[in-house]
């Protein structure tokens, strides 16, 4: 699984990364976590309000940091 975190370094983007890594650790799900900071890729996904979470090329959430429940649902789907 490939999890991309779209964001340009705002505090919420950091929080997003922390929450995702925490959930991955807890659930033991293997995933590659990448931070995407270049505007072109972010906008190619159609995201204008960061942070956003993209899992295997699909935008799951944009504009806020996800909560643990959301992430659990996405990665176990």
């Amino acid at each position: 699984m490939k999890i991309e975190i779209l964001g340009t370094g705002c505090p919420k983007c950091k929080k997003t990364k922390e929450v995702i890594e925490k959930v991955l650790k807890e659930t033991g799900v293997e995933a590659e976590v990448i931070k995407v900071e270049d505007f072109e890729t972010i906008l190619n996904y159609g995201v204008m309000v960061t942070p956003a979470v993209v899992i295997d090329g699909e935008v799951k959430l944009a504009g806020k940091a996800p909560d643990e429940k959301d992430i659990r649902k996405w990665i176990t789907e």
């Binding site: 340009t8 705002c10 919420k12 983007c13 906008l43 996904y45 204008m48 309000v49 956003a52």
Partner: protein
């Protein structure tokens, strides 16, 4: 007019003079009373205002906005863009993606700037704090002049035809469309989002509010009456530009500055000078300029900063004349 905040003053008086037993008419009493009253009032209005605006915002996404404004010219679209900017305070880290998104959708550069100028300038947290401290009338003046500043500034940038001063890569980016949010949120989901943003924003700004109110309270209680009228009063023509030039690069949380300004106004700082300073703090900051440099060439940044700075100075003078 009935003062709906009277109960807060009553509580502040009770706490200061009876519970804490501080004598009225002392420096300490004035400071403590100011701090208690302001803290209660600011947090109350913050919660109400953020909830209300965030609820409205669930209807106004950048995706929708750029569709509505795409390819539209004319002063009324500047006004619309500026008004949308008032209810959408994006953190400065989102201003670049939104900027590109607007340009890609064919929103004229000037209209995009009307949005970009107003978005940080008029935001619900600052409005709530202004209302709580300096009063409703000054707050309305701030909101109206801030909105008009966005209209005017954006219109001027459009008029100057500065499209070539946008970084070239911006015009090459294609914005995908898969992040479209489901638009069929129900009332409960919208309310949840609004509640989350109250928690989010209050969680972020409370410390600045406390710092600002404490500094303001100390100044209110201990500084001599009229001290600012003497040095930065209306008869000092340099006060407004100096206040604005200090405010422009300042990257300070405006939530801390507002209660301080309240106490400065109490000691004779003219309202227009104070509002101009707060506008300058909100409208432009060094980190924002650094972020915008990624998509704008220096000439356009210079024009943007110049227009906004001059307009704010002008607004400050105007307020000082009419108030």
């Amino acid at each position: 007019m009935v003062d709906i905040f009277y109960p807060l003053q009553w509580i502040a008086d009770k706490l200061t003079y009876e519970v804490f037993g501080i004598a009225p008419d002392t420096h300490l009493g004035a400071s403590v009373n100011f701090i208690i009253y302001d803290v209660m009032k600011i947090f109350m209005l913050l919660a109400v205002m953020i909830f209300f605006i965030s609820y409205i915002r669930t209807y106004i996404t950048p995706e929708k906005t750029r569709k509505v404004l795409g390819g539209k010219k004319g002063l009324h679209y500047h006004l619309l863009a500026s008004l949308i900017g008032t209810v959408t305070p994006f953190c400065s880290c989102s201003s670049v993606p939104i900027f590109i998104g607007f340009v890609e959708a064919g929103v004229p550069l000037g209209v995009t700037f009307s949005f970009l100028i107003t978005s940080p300038l008029v935001n619900e947290a600052a409005v709530a704090a202004l209302w709580a401290t300096i009063g409703l009338k000054a707050t309305l003046m701030y909101v109206i002049s801030g909105t008009l500043l966005g209209v005017f500034g954006g219109y001027l940038i459009g008029f100057l035809k500065m499209e070539e001063y946008v970084a070239d890569f911006v015009y090459k980016i294609k914005v995908g469309d898969q992040a479209k949010k489901p638009e069929d949120l129900n009332i409960k989901e919208r309310a949840t989002i609004a509640y989350e943003s109250v928690k989010d924003i209050v969680g972020k700004v409370w410390i600045y509010v406390i710092i600002g109110v404490t500094l303001g309270g100390i100044f209110h209680g201990y500084a001599p009456e009229g001290i600012l009228a003497k040095y930065a009063g209306k008869d000092n023509p340099l006060a407004v530009p100096i206040a604005v030039l200090i405010g422009v690069p300042l990257y300070s949380n405006v939530m801390a500055m507002i209660p301080v300004m309240e106490s400065l106004i109490g000691k004779g700082l003219p309202l227009g000078t104070a509002l101009a300073f707060l506008m300058a703090v909100n409208a432009i900051s060094l980190p924002e300029i650094i972020i915008l440099k990624k998509v704008l060439k220096n000439e356009l940044i210079g024009v943007f900063v110049l227009i906004v700075t001059v307009s704010i100075i002008f607004t400050g003078y105007m307020f000082n004349i009419i108030m």
